[in-house]
Symmetry: C2
């Protein structure tokens, strides 16, 4: 017998996050009652995953649970905030207890890791869709935005963009075969898609360092373009400095991926959930520990806004691609086709 | 050429709600920056509408926009809170500018009426789904819950439950015909489904009056059952006292609806977005203005929790149905089949 809506909420989600003292009333009423701390701004983010759009049909439910929360925590990280409370709107075509149990493990494990309580939500019947909303805090007036970058600021990115898109491509290939035997590199790339890491500690560290910050979800070039546009600048991105993981590198070396495809994935693959940000040169020293550990890479700079058609970003072309100090040729640019991933683009 | 995701957000939603001073940063970044007032608890609610489940395929987009926000404002009302900020997760199969324009009018008109700012959200491609989250405030410690009812408390409901379900049935009949000529009563009933009224002023007034409160979304009997269970009581519901609108009454008088069907709609129809609540007898005087205006009706009382199979609620049977002081016969109960609407019920 199928479980009722209320039984689902009770059984799977009531204890799916951390217990927090600032949750006066959690799941089980018409709304949650929450007590925000004094002296902090509230950050609210919302992101939805749809089966077949944001993850392949038949994806592992544990990965779906992880990703549904992770993509929202990544937005919280980009604001420099500390996550606290989440709501989950779960639309399911049918009830499968084993699916729900796995989904909940994925969601709850990440929630507990980052101190997030699940305080409410709803379940409805329909095409598989995960709507998550997360609230968090940042000391008053200190939330990071996309708008504060200035000419001369250094551009940085965390992690190794492109891995997640390579992992997704690998998962898609596997879905079409009966025998799937991924090597270690391929498994690592798949994990970057299935279990992305929201960069919360980095986001908090950037509060007093970055002039502008964005999370890389739609592809590095497109998201840098958004940051540059919001900051009234043009971004210069040095392709020779793009970080590349050993796993992606090995896929190129073994011939599984062309060098051009690897570059396209890094620029426009999407699903990275890394942070891209601008740092005034005077504050560069604060980055050194992150640079030394290889967790952050310098990839370019902001310059005065250039007029005309300069680049390859998703929304208006405000990113100049270079190799070292050399601009790319028009043919190189066309062959890259490094547009950001836009859900409604033609 | 289709609009890009960012163009959609810009064009339709950037000004879709009220401008509020406590919104430090609204739509256009990774998250919203909000400034909660001191001395208040934050109320967070989330509700999702799916095409074909919560509204018929092809429903008027203005109605969909109104309902997506209204069902959430109804939850805010049930907590006794004042709404402030909303997030909209819009999943669309395709971009139609005229549809979006109408949807936005429905959403924004209601948002402005209740002082709600639209501070964020996202758009994705997929089956038509509206995920809305609303945040509001209530003075610290004074949020209404389902749990505070005590034996002897009076049970009340706002409005006239059943109208929305009758309206939905009328809309469904119309969808199957080429000539639709609803009379005034039918138009009124349809409006109760398409444009429900969140009872925010009543919810705030109940802060110091009601011992427990719930919003009636899944059917009066089922939602009263939840309130009774949460309060550790049994609800006694007098069918002779159920409020009935002139429009529904006229549908019965003209033979468009049987008396039994009208009663079933009132008990279990759903989509009412009225408030059902318990009031200690000593505070009854505070209700008089609402009772005198016919905006609230006394429909029963809470009693000590009864053991055994007593009733017809959705989740455990904790509602006793009576006519005056007479219990209904078992056959009467069966014929009513007054279960609450449960999205995953068998």
């Amino acid at each position: 017998m199928p479980l009722g809506e209320f039984a689902i909420i009770d059984r799977f989600f009531r204890d799916a996050g951390l217990v927090r003292e600032d949750v006066v009333l959690g799941i089980g009423d018409d709304g949650a009652i929450l007590r925000p701390p004094a002296g902090f701004d509230l950050i609210a983010v919302s992101d939805t995953l749809v089966e077949g759009v944001h993850f392949p049909a038949g994806a592992a439910p544990r990965s779906i649970g992880h990703r549904a929360l992770a993509v929202n925590l990544s937005d919280i990280a980009a604001m420099g905030a500390e996550p606290a409370w989440s709501l989950l709107a779960l639309t399911l075509p049918r009830i499968e207890e084993s699916w729900l149990a796995e989904f909940t493990i994925g969601f709850a494990t990440l929630a507990r890791e980052h101190g997030v309580a699940l305080v409410g939500g709803d379940t409805t019947r329909g095409p598989l869709t995960l709507g998550v909303q997360v609230m968090g805090f940042v000391p008053e007036g200190r939330g990071l935005r996309r708008t504060g970058g200035r000419p001369g600021d250094l551009l940085c990115v965390s992690g190794t963009p492109g891995d997640a898109a390579a992992g997704l491509a690998s998962l898609r290939r596997a879905a079409g075969t009966t025998c799937d035997s991924p090597d270690a590199a391929e498994r690592q790339l798949r994990a970057r898609f299935e279990y992305p890491t929201p960069r919360l500690a980095l986001g908090r560290a950037l509060r007093d360092v970055a002039s502008a910050c964005i999370d890389v979800s739609d592809g590095l070039a497109g998201d840098l373009d958004k940051l540059a546009v919001a900051s009234g600048c043009t971004a210069v991105l040095d392709l020779d400095r793009l970080p590349r993981s050993a796993a992606l590198q090995s896929r190129v070396q073994t011939g599984g991926l062309s060098a051009r495809d690897a570059l396209r994935l890094a620029l426009a693959g999407g699903d990275d959930y890394e942070l891209a940000f601008a740092v005034p040169p005077a504050r560069r020293a604060a980055l050194e520990p992150w640079l030394a550990r290889g967790e952050v890479t310098l990839i370019g700079e902001l310059i005065e806004k250039q007029s005309g058609e300069v680049a390859e970003g998703a929304e208006g072309g405000n990113v100049l691609l270079r190799r070292g100090t050399e601009p790319l040729s028009a043919a190189d640019l066309r062959s890259l086709d490094a547009r950001g991933f836009d859900h409604f683009a033609p």
